[in-house]
């Protein structure tokens, strides 16, 4: 069984994003970039499914040349092979989904596991779009995945609690935070990853038009909240709450 895992290179989640003064976006020069945290969880899940009949994990990233570092990380974690689709321009989820569909048509994986959202643009779209384009089932926000040779049963985190769905393969899954704890790559595995295969492609190789549909007119900082006052003790807090009408 083959699994495809798309991984995105994003601003590291520990770095506080800084909006550029000219209003064109967030400053990504000389800041730490990492694999989207949800994608680490997706890679980890694919690796764990190796006990359940998965024989090959292909990771793919669409982005600038440096995304190869992100792919190497996935290979060091335990993926087998990587595909890099280089685009120095930003590709929107719709374009990414179309490229992934082209790869799925070629590679015929049984399962595609994505993150539920990329923490840069917070779109939360790509997996659902891919499933729509492929005409297959989708299980988003997975917190538990059970795989058999023909089906996958997924528990999903939803607003009021959780839901369980069963999909026939091939299918698309997007993962939530509590599915697993991703492993760190060991040094020997990082060394080994260097010799694992990585194909270099462009959107044109797949005949996909990735022209953006959205134009970003400006990016600004949100209205700032300023810290307020500190109260000395519970009595003062209670008094304030009463003054606000929150407590009687």
């Amino acid at each position: 069984m083959k699994v495809l895992v798309p991984v995105k290179r994003v601003l590291d989640y520990n770095v506080k994003p800084r909006v550029k003064a000219d209003g064109t976006g967030v400053d990504l020069a000389n800041v730490k970039m990492s694999m989207n945290p949800f994608d680490e969880i997706a890679v980890e899940e694919a690796i764990r499914l190796k006990d359940k009949g998965v024989t090959e994990i292909v990771v793919v990233s669409i982005g600038e040349q440096k995304s190869q570092e992100t792919l190497r990380t996935a290979l060091a974690m335990g993926a087998d092979r990587a595909i890099l689709i280089v685009s120095e321009e930003k590709v929107e989820p719709l374009g990414v989904a179309k490229l992934l569909k082209a790869i799925v048509d070629e590679e015929k994986p049984d399962l595609v596991i994505l993150g539920k959202q990329a923490i840069d643009d917070d779109n939360n779209q790509t997996g659902q779009m891919l499933a729509g384009l492929l005409g297959v089932g989708q299980a988003t926000f997975a917190s538990k995945v059970d795989l058999t040779a023909t089906n996958v049963t997924v528990t999903r985190e939803v607003d009021g609690g959780s839901e369980t769905e069963e999909l026939s393969l091939p299918a698309v899954i997007t993962v939530d935070l509590r599915l697993n704890e991703p492993r760190y790559a060991s040094l020997p595995n990082i060394m080994k990853a260097k010799s694992k295969p990585m194909a270099n492609k462009t959107p044109a190789d797949y005949g996909v038009d990735v022209t953006p549909r959205l134009t970003t007119l400006k990016v600004v900082e949100p209205p700032k909240r300023s810290g307020g006052v500190k109260v000395a003790d519970v009595d003062e807090l209670v008094a304030k709450l009463k003054a606000m009408g929150v407590a009687k």
């Binding site: 917070d122 779209q125 659902q128 607003d159 839901e163 970003t216 007119l217 807090l237």
Partner: protein
């Protein structure tokens, strides 16, 4: 412009999240609703009364009973033949359905909008709300999810929408069989729902255990008539269920009062609550980032403060 709003409901009543979407849709043009489900006459009747609603399309079929995106998306696509924009709440169900619709229409979705600037221009948060982008769509049809806390809720009375059965729901084919709903575990709680609560008390990792979380947070919430939330750390550690999580990847809330107890204030948590009207933080570390956004802060040990606070309220 004619808009189509996906109505979120539980089979009995319209979910609050829908009301904010109606307000956003009304800023674009005429508002039509889609009520898809099984045995949804009551929901449709309730939806028709929402202020400003023109038409209510009703698709009643077992295939739509659980809002499976695989079945709902083709239905929406069909209706989009005579609508210009599709809007859904940025809830887990809305986020599940809308992008599938967008892909089938070959449209790039605009996620989680905060405002409608014009027919094709919207603002939306990126980087966990650390930046706000203004984006303009070139697509002929728009597919949009709406952040519930960013728009007023439309009034639930005053409308007189015309209820219209959707002619073809695909009949026997409405259920494409791509996925099968197996069950759900929906938490029952007497407390107000997080996304509509006026007051929220949230607990973090510092609570230390599920027992302490409930022993300390619940009584305070009960005193205040508040909903209960949690940080990711508290949920991951099993102190609180997953649907309590507030943040970038949890729920986005904006109550009148948000009380953060033993929560450090990571950007991913702030993303979910920093639009609250008044933020109150209780934390033993006076340098905790939560104090940078808190209107009222109390430095100290929550295990001493909470019992005293609950008692004195």
């Amino acid at each position: 412009m004619k808009t189509l709003v996906w109505v979120e409901h539980d089979g009995k009543t319209v979910k609050d999240a829908t009301l904010a979407v109606v307000t956003a849709a009304a800023q674009l043009g005429e508002v039509h609703l889609l009520v898809a489900g099984q045995g949804v006459d009551a929901v449709a009747a309730e939806a028709a009364k929402i202020a400003g609603v023109g038409k209510v399309h009703v698709a009643d079929d077992a295939a739509f009973a659980h809002a499976l995106a695989e079945n709902v998306a083709p239905l929406v696509v069909e209706l989009m033949g005579h609508h210009d924009a599709f809007l859904a709440p940025a809830t887990t169900h809305g986020k599940n359905i809308a992008p599938r619709v967008a892909a089938l229409l070959d449209v790039m979705q605009i996620s989680d909008i905060l405002s409608v600037e014009s027919e094709d221009t919207f603002t939306r948060p990126i980087y966990a709300g650390n930046a706000i982008a203004t984006v303009q769509s070139k697509d002929a049809k728009k597919v949009i999810t709406v952040r519930g806390t960013a728009f007023e809720k439309a009034a639930t009375e005053g409308g007189s929408g015309a209820i219209e059965k959707v002619a073809s729901t695909g009949g026997a084919n409405a259920d494409g069989g791509l996925s099968v709903f197996k069950g759900q575990e929906i938490a029952k709680s007497e407390r107000p729902e997080l996304t509509s609560a006026k007051i929220i008390v949230s607990g973090g990792r510092a609570l230390g255990s599920s027992e302490q979380f409930h022993a300390l947070i619940d009584p305070l919430a009960d005193k205040l008539g508040a909903g209960v939330g949690a940080s990711r750390a508290a949920v991951d550690a099993g102190y609180a269920p997953n649907d309590y999580q507030v943040g970038q990847t949890g729920k986005i809330v904006a109550p009148e009062v948000y009380v953060a107890v033993g929560i450090s204030g990571a950007i991913q948590h702030l993303a979910g609550m920093k639009d609250s009207k008044t933020i109150i933080a209780i934390n033993k570390d006076e340098d905790a980032p939560i104090f940078q956004v808190a209107d009222l802060g109390l430095v100290g040990d929550l295990f001493k403060i909470l019992p005293e606070l609950t008692e004195k309220l």
